[in-house]
């Protein structure tokens, strides 16, 4: 159990990481017959601390699906709408979980390129005349990582600014 807890420490949010490390640092001072009970308690902290991250990843997956749907739309406005959603979602999710802003930028910034590449590999040619028709051309859409990163970082910075304690 101790090994699993130690392994999970780097995955935890910073505050929880401190508390789990602090509780593990007590172990050498705890009588051997009480260590198991202590570790069981510490073990309960880990899933609790990770729960919000798991929820966040689920929301991120949902947002990625929405972006794909927006991009697949045959509407003339599809590209603009997808771009607008990309920026708004990246900023909102960056603000929601500043620590994972890099993951937000990575997923949201690459989802459209990945969707187009997968579509081409499966033989679906885009109906839109200006859409990239080769995998290499579709890969240029990874450039969307730049606006997604900027939006996510802005969201994260805004959140940190707002939640900074006064003084």
């Amino acid at each position: 159990m101790e090994r699993w807890i130690r392994w999970s420490v780097p995955l935890l949010p910073r505050a929880s990481r401190t508390w789990v490390r602090a509780s593990l640092a007590e172990l050498p001072s705890i009588p051997p017959d009480e260590r198991d009970a202590w570790l069981r308690g510490v073990n309960r902290l880990v899933p609790r601390a990770l729960a919000m991250d798991v929820l966040f990843v689920a929301v991120l997956a949902l947002v990625a699906a929405v972006l794909v749907l927006a991009d697949l739309s045959t509407s003339e406005m599809a590209n603009q709408v997808a771009m607008l959603l990309l920026l708004v979602f990246a900023a909102a999710l960056g603000a929601l979980r500043p620590r994972l802003a890099w993951l937000t930028a990575l997923v949201i910034g690459s989802v459209i390129a990945v969707e187009r590449i997968v579509g081409l590999l499966q033989g679906h040619m885009p109906s839109e005349p200006h859409a990239p028709h080769t995998v290499a051309a579709a890969a240029t859409l990874f450039v969307l990582l730049v606006p997604a990163s900027l939006a996510a970082l802005l969201g994260a910075a805004g959140r940190r600014l707002v939640s900074r304690p006064p003084g």
């Binding site: 508390w19 789990v20 602090a22 640092a25 007590e26 050498p28 009970a37 308690g41 510490v42 902290l45």
Partner: protein, 110 residues
Amino acid sequence: VTRRRALSPTTIRVLEHLAGVESEGWTHGYAISRATGTPSGSLYPILGRLERQGLLTSKWQDAPSSPGTPPRHLYQLTDDGRRTLAELRTTASAPRPARVRAARLSTGGA
């Protein structure tokens, strides 16, 4: 903005314990756990909340207490924590309606 948050009986026990050891300086998680009967899974979230509310402060030990062991995380009551506890003690002896009102402590402002 003044945020109000009720303190649980366990949290109050933790504050009481920290107040008791204050003259000796800092204390560590296992000592608090033993003194208050709080298991580790509940204790550390409580310590985290108290620190966020500014009622206690924490630090890592500069050097381990014995060779070969990791430095421990230490805790101490802050002035705000002392004030909060004093308020609690005052209201604990007050008539019941006042006690109920005062159990909701101001933690974000004056």
